[in-house]
């Protein structure tokens, strides 16, 4: 048992310790204007140096921009941190998930944040890093009806000024459903966005910039995959859903933010599709035209709008001459003959975009058939029963 004197002494010690730890945690104050002065205390000096070096014309402009990051996981959290450190004006963060210990092989989040919502934990850390950035967080799943409407609203009015659309949407989600939801929203709003992804085996990734109507949208073709030369059949998925590496995710986040900075601050060349094959260190690059028969009606609408805009101000065309592949010698007149006709193949595979080597479609879908309603073999006819009757019938089974 301790005496009162001992306890008093203990309290004094603890108070002194507390005072010391309070002093050691430096909180950075807000800065009203970016300065290019090179002093230890200026967090923007190295960024503003980009101006002096002639890379970026007007770096301060970054503070006027708003970026929405959808998905704050392995790629999204690092993306948000990079933009925060770059001094972006405003960030909107969307994610419905919580931080878990299983996330600790990725960057950014820390074990003591387990259980917190990812957006809440991210906002707290990011505010400490740079209090100049404005944050808006939404802890929900964007693919359900109610949330989607709200999501569309935030994208179209979420800018710093509060009444105009955000400048760019970055997709850092990990599933097809959420990507399609972002695609749907951006096609309807005519919102430019960049999609990003890391493969489930963690050894490839990509970024793809989508300007509705001008470039291929996410629904224009089946999902693209970067070929890594691993045999898909030997890919062991027993017992696990997905693998992940902090390296691949960090690299993809880096590519994504680099492209974002180039797009917003107008320097260098903006990339439309950039793949990353980690096993061979190969980076396929290309740009993709939209599919005139895209499944998304708003994509087609945006394509018309873009074509009208193009026609209004004609550009100088650079003609490309396609070289025909000829083999120098073919003494025996050997030709490749396919068992199925080209037409049959095309119909079965549908539209496949022109892809650069090293990138392929994940799967093919048949071309849209001009079928009449009667042609579709269907067991579900025009129901004579009402929906209520059907619901009751299902319940009584």
């Amino acid at each position: 048992m301790s005496t009162i004197e001992e306890l008093k002494e203990r309290v004094r010690c603890l108070e002194a310790e507390l005072e010391k730890s309070k002093k050691s945690s430096v909180a950075r104050q807000k800065i009203s204007q970016m300065s290019s002065e090179v002093v230890d205390s200026n967090p923007y000096s190295r960024l503003m140096a980009l101006k002096r070096m002639g890379i970026v014309d007007n770096y301060e402009k970054i503070r006027d921009y708003t970026v929405a990051v959808v998905g704050v996981g392995g790629v999204g959290s690092v993306t948000a941190e990079m933009l925060t450190r770059c001094g972006i004006g405003k960030l909107l963060l969307f994610d419905y998930d919580k931080v878990e210990l299983a996330n600790m092989n990725r960057l950014f989040f820390q074990p003591h944040q387990s259980g917190m919502s990812k957006v809440e934990a991210a906002e707290k850390t990011l505010r400490e890093i740079n209090p100049d950035v404005e944050f808006e967080t939404h802890n929900y799943n964007i693919t359900t009806m109610d949330n989607f409407t709200h999501f569309m609203n935030r994208i179209s009015t979420g800018s710093l000024q509060g009444n105009s659309p955000v400048d760019l949407v970055l997709s850092c989600v990990d599933n097809f459903e959420a990507r399609m939801a972002i695609n749907t929203a951006c096609n309807e709003l005519g919102q430019t966005w960049i999609e990003s992804g890391v493969s489930e085996n963690a050894v490839s990734g990509h970024i793809q910039m989508i300007k509705p109507g001008e470039t291929s949208c996410f629904a224009c073709a089946p999902p693209l995959v970067v070929a890594t030369g691993t045999d898909e059949k030997t890919l062991k998925r027993e017992g696990v859903c997905a693998a992940s590496l902090p390296t691949t995710m960090g690299i993809v986040a880096g590519l994504l933010v680099q492209n974002t900075l180039k797009y917003l601050l107008q320097f260098g060349e903006v990339t439309y599709y950039l793949g990353y094959n980690a096993l061979q260190d190969f980076f396929p690059m290309m740009s993709l035209k939209p599919n005139p028969t895209c499944d998304d009606s708003f994509c087609k609408k945006q394509q018309n709008i873009y074509q009208e805009r193009l026609a209004a101000k004609p550009e100088i065309k650079v003609e490309e001459v396609a070289e025909e592949v000829t083999h120098e010698e073919n003494n025996w007149g050997i030709e490749l003959v396919s068992e199925t006709s080209e037409l049959e193949l095309k119909e079965a595979e549908g539209v496949i975009p022109d892809l650069v080597a090293g990138v392929r479609v994940a799967y093919t879908t048949p071309a849209p058939q001009p079928t009449q309603e009667a042609d579709i073999p269907s067991g579900t006819g025009d129901a004579t029963e009402s929906l209520d009757d059907l619901m009751a019938k299902m319940k009584s089974l």
Partner: protein
């Protein structure tokens, strides 16, 4: 790709024809009707084949579905609650079926208890838009998942039969 049993059951599920999602207003109603017709036929077939394995119902908008599925292992019935939302991009993207009570118990799940589907499911679904519906997602997605995962979870002692669990 798909086992013979699944293939046979799948072939008997009525196909749908209305390409409409929950954001398509009036068009969504015939689609929900088709979903119900197709599901009713599937459950009736299952009963006929002595392979009745789930029940589903939805909210009145047809956007949120919930119900039960069960799996018989060594003459014991293991029952689980299941749920899913119809995504705004349905039927281009399939619903993500979840069994929340198994969340965290198997690696073959995404967070929230969404089941991990095989590589075959998504291409097959994409090739059959809009003809596949909820019944097809159950037959191709949840059915095979339960058949692989539940015996495994039981053998590891992670899933216990309700009666024996209450006794011990």
């Amino acid at each position: 790709m798909v086992d013979a049993g699944t293939k046979k059951a799948l072939g008997k599920i009525p196909l749908l024809k209305t390409k409409a999602g929950p954001r398509d207003g009036e068009l969504w109603i015939p689609r929900i009707k088709e979903e119900y017709q197709s599901l009713i036929a599937y459950v009736e077939n299952n009963k006929k084949d002595d392979n009745d394995w789930f029940r589903l119902e939805s909210n009145k908008e047809g956007t949120r579905w919930f119900g039960k599925c069960w799996y018989i292992h060594e003459l014991l019935k293991y029952e689980f609650e299941l749920e899913f939302d119809i995504p705004v991009t349905y039927p281009t993207t399939a619903p993500e079926i979840a069994i929340p009570e198994l969340d965290g118990k198997t690696a073959k799940m995404y967070r929230g208890g969404k089941i991990c589907l095989t590589d075959h499911f998504k291409p097959l679904w994409a090739r059959n838009v809009p003809r596949f519906g909820i019944a097809h997602a159950m037959a191709l997605g949840l059915g095979p998942w339960l058949a692989v995962e539940i015996p495994d979870l039981i053998s590891k002692g992670i899933v216990q039969h309700k009666d024996s669990a209450t006794k011990s």
